[in-house]
Amino acid sequence: MLNQTQGVMPPLSSAAGEAEDCRLDESLPPDLGKKRPLWVNALLTTAIAGMLAMAVIFWTVSYVFKQSFADQIIHESQGAMAVLEVASYYATVKGDKKILEAVTEALLEATPEISSIEVTFHDKHILKRGKGGRESGDAGLVTQRDLMSYGLPVGVGTIRWNPGALDQLHAKSVGELEGLVIALMVVLGGLITAMFYRLAVKPVNGIYSALATRSRTTLRELVNSPSREVSKIAFAVKRLLRAQDALEAAGQEDKVVGAMLSMSTPEQTVSEYLEAALHEVLEHVPWLGGKEKRGAIFLADERENLTLVAAANLGSVISTSCSRVAKGHCLCGKAVDSASILFADHVDERFDTRLENIEDHGQYSVPISKNGKVLGLLLVYVPLGHEASDREMSFLQRATAALALAIEQKHYEEELRSTSHQLHEANEQVEASHRQVMQAEKLSSIGQLAAGIAHEINTPVQFVGDNTRFLDEAFTDLSELIDGYEEILKVANTKDVSKELIDKVREISEEIELDYLVEEIPSAISQSIEGVERISTIVQSMKEFSHPGCVDMAPCDINKGISSTINVSRNEWKYCATLSTEFEQNLPLVPCFAGELNQVILNIIVNAAHAIGDRVDSDKGELGNIHITTRVRDEHVEISIKDTGGGVPEAIRTKVFDPFFTTKEVGKGTGQGLAIAHSVITQKHKGKLHLEVEEGVGTTFVISLPLAQEVAQSTHVQIELEPETETA
């Protein structure tokens, strides 16, 4: 049933169509003012019909009358002829023509329609009389007869009638009738118009005003109209209006549902959204009567027990007692249990919890469910005795569908938020561990280097110490000799230098191996100075290599960095390879993280040394070579490190930059070195790192670093922006 209703329900977009219809209704035809009212039309129609009727009547009447008038004239003519016959008798038989003349005069006098009378006797005597001006020969109607005397014709009588005689007669007899007919027609016309007005015009106007004002009273009267058509039209209009009302309400409800669907914002919590949605429903749905629109929204837990989340005007008693509703308890719990809308027009036996001092009411309990799972419940109060309708049910279904969507969306949002939080945390952990790996790698390489560096330092310390001790002893020996010389000097003036003294000094000189000392002391001193320089260089290189505390990119002398790296790694390669460099002397400073770049170069050098070491061991005695060059190429600085380690086998060439990939024995390599090197070059420096292999000869690692980094570009932009900020 509900589904059917829903099927009939117009989609959301129909609200616009409806509005358009309303506009059509409001904009009346522009030439409406020129149009005649229906009653005028009715009157005109009646008048024209009346006039036509009158014309027909008059024509018919006058035709009939004309015939009867002609008969009358003939009749009168017979009478006149009879009189003339008698008078003619006297004129012909008695020879007295005065009677004839008198009779003629009298006839003319008595009958105005006669224009002239003529009597012609056989003796050619002619008597002719006529009215003044009218006795010309153009008489319209002429009657003629033989005048008889004793069965013999004595003459011919001719009476000429006036041309308008008939009309005059007609007018005379019809005149009164005409007035009567017109009066009758007017009355009849009026009556017809009035009837027409009452039966047609008034109902039509009534329907119009009922449509315009939506007056139910007017429509009810019209439905009761005696005319079947009016009654039918009024009934149809009534249904139309009801349908329109339903449409408007549905439109309003659609708006509510639409608003409920669109009002959810990511910042809202579920309960905030539900509060807003409940307010929207109660505020804008007209049939939720009563001054205080009441309602609530519950959320269901896993066991479909309800918890009150949003409430409006429920009062503290209900809000408290209904804060949790078990499944199957009360109308709400029963609605959840049956997963269908439950309606009550008053508090009936289905209400398990009855609260004192709560006024009786009707209510809808509508489960909010999605895919058969109850997510919550919408409760709305309706006035006591409210009649439920399919349309309301349909609205409530759509409203709860919207709520279900929104609740589900909120759940997803929360899930997403928590997932993204977890992701963020995981990412931070990954970054932290990456930093740790980098640090560990750095430490391990430093640790690995430490032994070599210690050796590099300990060697000069050893010989500088030896030399110093030697110099110390040598000085003691020389002091002894100098003492001898002093003694000789003291007595030199006396020219009495004893042979014993000279022999003693010579003896000392021989004893201390003066020649050796003279030869060795400068060498010991210069070698000691060299040793100290070596120590100083390596310490300086260590400092430069590790570049501690460098958080930002800074312009660096790449050549110097490479030199330091070579120095600190010397012990790693010197037993298996020679190392040559070919540095571009005018290399510009390159923005980079010096410490990390040196780390990368060290890694490649150590790898090269290991590769060469593997080969040199087997070849016995031969040294490999590591050749490092720097040069500028297309806005980039290119560092290439070429070794004679035999090259990376084809099969693993693509894997060398993968994390944890290593060909070294367990414990010798972590497999992180080149992976980190790759990440440092490509990600941190936006540069490139690739390798070129000459199979069986060696590998060349090529690092390409951009001379201009984004940092530099953004600084440039900032400089450009400065004038703007000044003007602003």
């Binding site: 300990n458 030896d466 001790r469 070698q527 037993y575 298996c576 005695g621």
Partner: protein
Amino acid sequence: MPLNILFVDDEPHILQGLKRSFRGQRKEWNMSFALGGAEALQLTDDMHFDAVISDMRMPEVDGAAVLKAVRDKSPDTVRVVLSGYSEMENEIQREAYSHRYLKKPCSSTEIKKALAELLPISDH
């Protein structure tokens, strides 16, 4: 009779420094200096040494090889390691090839002391 002592290192400065610092022993010691393992092997072939003091890490023939050869050739020769590496060498290797492990930097006094302790042992 002076003792024959052989110093082995791949770094000439070290050998020269040792030679200078043991100048005081020139009467008791007859010192030889081998620049690298190969030269040391040649010298040990030619004559007997009472003590060999060798660096460990050297190109081509390293200290371990030299000491191993010395042990094989003349087991009575005192074998001392004088290494620049700070980490501890493998214990067994140390035991096998050397009687004493000395770390650079090491003063001549320490070396002398070590040899003084070791030489009577090898005398028997």
